[in-house]
Each structure stands twice: as C-alpha cells, then as structure tokens.
Symmetry: C3
Subunit: 256 residues, 3 copies
C-alpha cells in the first residue's frame, strides 16, 4: 500500500506488495523488490552527483524503518532490515539478509557482506570492507583517515567473516580484524587482529583465543558464535555452520 | 491544536489541549494526556507484534520533540520531556517527570524511574533498570549481552537512584551501579560500583567516596548532587531531599 | 523551488533561488540567503523562548540536508553545509564555509569559527568555543559540566584554530586544546593541550610535536595539515596558509 501522503516518483519501479509510509519520498529510478516495506518519513534513492546516475536497488522482503535516507547508486540485497534514521550513501554494496541499526551510517564506497548486522549508532566511513556474518554492536566507530584531514581518506577498516566488535569499539584506519576474532567493549583497535583472537583494551591487547570466552550458563565456548546463535539465519546457512564450526552447544534458545 | 498536515488516527485519545505538529503520525489507540505537545515529524504509538496490542500511554504535560518515534506498548508518566529524534520501543516503563535527550534510544523491556534524565546520544538496551533521579550524560552506552551475539541478550545494566554516569561512559552487561555513585567521563564500568563511590578509568577503578569531589566555587561536596541541584524538580521532592541528604549548600543558583 | 508539500511561513525571507524540500517547515522570520538548498523533512527556525524573538539567519549558498533542525536565534555564515539530522540550537554563532556532519548536535550559546568542520555524530554542548578551521572527526564528544548535574553547566571546551580532534575523542569540561594541536583517536583530554602538540590516550598524554606525525606516502609532516590539505577551501585562504605555514608538500591530490 502506497500512502497517499507519500511522494513517489512515477519512474520508480516498485515490486508487488511494496508498501510506502506517510511523508516518505521515493526518488526517480529506484528499484524496490517485492514485499518490501518502507516506513514513514524516509528518503529513498536520493540522487547526487556522486551516484553518477546509478539508481538505488533495494532487495525484496526488506524493511526500512522511519526517517531513513538511502542514496542513489547503492545496491542492497534481499531481506535487508534497518532501524530508524539509518543513512546509507552512494556505492554501498550490501549483501543479503543484512541489518543496520537505528542511527547507523554507512558512508558509501564500501562493502557490507551477506548476513552482517550492525546494532544502533554504528559509523562506517568510506572504503571499509565488512565480511560475511559480521556483528558490530552499538556505537562501534570505524575510521579511514590515518592523519586527518587527508585527501583522499581511503584507508578503511577491514572486518573479516564472523568477527564481532562489541559496544563502543573504535578501530583505527587500515586495521584488519580477522575472521572469527572478537574485540571487547570500548576497546581501541590499533593493529591487526589475527583470526580467532580476543583483544581487549585501550589500546587493544591480545587476551588469548576467542574460544576462551565461556558462556555463563553452559560453560561452553562462546566463540565462534556460529555454534550456538542462529536467530534469523536461514536453515541452510546454519547447516553449513554446523559442518564448518561444529554442532550446536550453547545456552541460547536454539543451543540447549 | 492538531496540524491539518498531521495524520491522526480517529481511535487515538487525545486529552484537552494536546497539540500535534506538521507531518506527525499518531497511530490507533494511543492515549495522550492533557496539554502534551507533540512536535513535527514524529511517529507516536507505532504498532508492532512485540507490543502485543497494548497501546502507548503518554502522560499529561509532556513535550515530544521533532522526529521522535514512540512505539506502542509503552507507558510514560506525566511531564515527560524529550529532545529530537528519540526512539522508545515497546514495553518501556517510564516514570514521571523524566527526560530523554536528542538521539537517545530506549530499546524497550526496561524501566526508567521517576525524575531520571538522559542527555543526548544515550543508548539503553532491553532489560536495563534505571532508578529514580538518575543522570545519564551525553553518549552513555549501556549494554546487555555478555558474549554477543546471545539469544536472549538479557543481562541489562542496573543504575540505582541518584547515580550519575558522566559523558561517554560504557557499562558492561549486568553491572550494578549503586545509589548515589558517580562514574567519571569516558570510563568503562566492568564490575559493580558500590553505593556512593566514585569510579574512573578504563576499566573503572575506585577513587574514593563521591563526596570527595568538590565544587569549584563553594568547595563543598558535589555529591550527592541532591544537596545543591534542584532545577526543574518539584518543591516537595526537594524538601524530601533536604531531609534525607541535608540542607542545600552548592554553588548553583539554588544553592547559594 | 519551494516544494508544494513544504510548510513555509509567509514571514520567512527567502533569497533568490532558495529551494525547500518536501515536508520541510520554515518558521516565521527566518532569513535564508540566496541559492541555499534546504532538503526534505527539516525544521528551520524553530522558535523557542530561549531564542528571545531573534530569528534564524542562514547564509547564502548553504546546503541543509534532510531531517535537520535549526533553531531560531542562531546566525550561520554563508556556504554552510550539513549532513542529515543535524540539530543546531539557539544562539549558535557559526562562521562562513563551515560543515556539521550527520547526527551532530550544537546545543547553542557557542561559537563555531570560519571554515571549521565536524564529521558525523559530534556533540558540542553550550559554552564551547571552536576556533577557525578546526576539524572534529566522527563521534567527538565535548562537555561543559565539571560535576554533573550543575546549574549552570557552563565550563565549555575551547578548541583553537587548526586543531584536530580524531574519532571518538572526549574532552573534559573547560580544557583548552591549543592551536594546531592534534588529539589521537579515542583519547580522553583531561588537561590543556599546548599549541602544536600531539596527545594520545586515556587520559591523553603528550607524544611530542604534532609535526612528528608523518604522512605515509610522502614521509613529510602531516601537521599542520594546512600545508597539504586544501579541499574545498577558497584560494585566498590557501595562499594565506602557504605564507603562514609554508608551501604545500603532501601526499594528497593537491600536495603532490
């Protein structure tokens, strides 16, 4: 259902069952997949010179919550899910089944892999590369400028598959956070973090394998989280995780 | 005055003198007390499955500033005051005369006691419990997940009555910050803070009684703050504070 | 072009070529210079008692991005540029060619000098003074309250000309960050920073002259940044910088 109080360009291509809330603007050329819900007060497909005439392509089955702004020139896979007031700028390449939390900003010219999620207030500047099934907890700040102001500021942070950055982490320009690594809350990452390690502190120091963190109830390793946390992920992905990382054994709903 | 440019459900119950700004949406079943002012571009009473059919109940004499989103299923006491772009999700139980600052988010399933205030950019996830007359300064981040991602993430932070968390504080899941305690700016709270103590640092360490912090001008103890800061609090509450904490003796307007 | 879906007060004074987006509100008495573009969902010139009847004056050639809120009683120079969802409160005195990034808030009663820029998520409370050509990177938090809550909280941070605060820096009330000084990412500034020094850490410690930071590619000093970063600045300003700080010698586009 398209609200009569929305402003929808006649050249926008809306799939079957797309809904658009009150006071939302859909710009020209936008392509929105079937069943996607755009809430109120959004700006979808904002055209800019940087978008170079490319449209916004937004996958089917997505939910864009109120007051969000998605620029032209980005491609977002199906089942995308945002909080309120998200900003996603030009040339963001976002995979399938991703989530971006309330107040988070993706500044464009970046990659955000399948199944990755941010919670609220996450800041990702240009030239960052986020792998698959990465978790960025609230108030994570990534950077890209080794001696600000630089021109260009293009030394983005790389976060590899399954890594977790806890709340209020800051990562310096150009660091690479390895696959299945975990960064503790409020840490400052100043150097590369090897695969599967836990780092904590300001600056962040190695505290051993991430698997040394144990879950409170079960006493089993909390990482890699893929052995016990499956909420919202497709069954075939979970099966692949079981094959790769081992059988479920957590203290969560699915893992008990 | 209800703006003709607002979208107000006929089933919303608006008390006498309620005003609703341009481009604001009031959803079905919302109950708003007399004299409350809702500014422009807000979404009030957003229904979701998690709200389980419960309405939003918003007390009299409140001010909701522009671009805020209040979900269905929460109960908010009288004289509530928000900044711009606040988000309050389902099953938030908010007392009387509270304030939530610009860009702050209360993620629901939480308690926020009478007279408590956040300033801007404060993040409070589910299952936190904020006592009475608590102060959360700008950019405070509370957490609830001991080894993210967990399901459920339900180990919220507890902040007891009259405690103060200064700017940019992060508190780890499950910590309890005691009554009248003070946490210094940019600290990381990793363990419980006893009543009336001052903690500072990353991780936060005990620095003595909070009363050892002296006010610049008067040289008297700055904590508990209830002895000298009374702005916006009702006289009967201030009288109770005088009985409990001692007579005013500050360097503020009221304390001189 | 004024959108027919905007709400524009007849007493607002709009210069030639001003454009106003959908669902934006322009309040009474606002003065907007020629060629300024106001995007959608904004609130411009919000009147409040604190504004004491003074209008908002917004300079020519500015761009105000969507969902921003600019209060009455502030004066903003020409060529002002905001991200989305900026809040600028009463009695902010903002110079020419300034930039305030997405989600940033200037709480009023403050000065923000010519050519200064914030990136996203920057918080500046009342009584701060930002000099000329200052850079505040994402998630910088300034403060003004030495023992919160105070009344008044008026011990703002002073940031002098050409200083740079990197991402996620917090500065305590009343500190003065000197001309051409640099504060490293995620630092907590607890005392004054002398001119031209680099400080890093929690709390921030002196690490030598800012000129000891070298650019990766050229090996030349990264600070003062005015010797090599000129993007978006007017030629006459750059010429003055060359006279004062020396000839260009960077690894940027302009400096090679």
């Amino acid at each position: 259902m398209i609200s009569p109080l929305a402003s929808v360009s006649p050249s926008a291509v809306l799939g079957e069952g797309v809904s658009v809330g009150n006071f939302t603007i859909i710009h020209e050329g936008v392509e929105i997949g079937a069943g996607t819900r755009i809430e109120s007060h959004c700006v979808i497909g904002l055209p800019t010179p940087l978008a170079q005439g490319e449209p916004l392509i937004l996958g089917a089955g997505s939910v864009i919550r109120s007051h969000s702004v998605l620029y032209a020139g980005s491609t977002i896979g199906r089942s995308f899910n945002t909080g309120h007031r998200v900003v996603i700028r030009e040339h963001s390449r976002i995979g399938i089944q991703c989530q971006v939390g309330t107040n988070s900003e993706l500044q464009g010219d970046l990659e955000f892999g399948d199944f990755s999620r941010t919670q609220s207030d996450v800041f990702i500047p240009k030239h960052c590369r986020i792998g698959r099934a990465v978790w960025l907890l609230p108030r994570v700040t990534l950077t890209n400028d080794p001696h600000p102001p630089s021109d260009p500021a293009d030394l983005g942070v790389i976060v590899e598959d399954y890594a977790v950055l806890a709340a209020a982490v800051t990562a310096l320009p150009g660091v690479r956070i390895g696959r299945c690594a975990v960064v503790g809350a409020a840490s400052l990452v100043t150097r590369d973090v090897p695969e599967g390690r836990l780092v904590v502190g300001v600056p962040a120091r190695d505290r051993g394998p991430a698997s040394s963190v144990l879950m409170k109830e079960s006493g089993r390793p909390a990482y890699p989280w893929t052995t016990h946390f499956h909420r919202g992920y497709p069954p075939e992905l979970v099966e692949a995780w079981v094959r790769e990382f081992g059988a479920p054994g957590g203290d969560g709903v699915e893992g008990s």
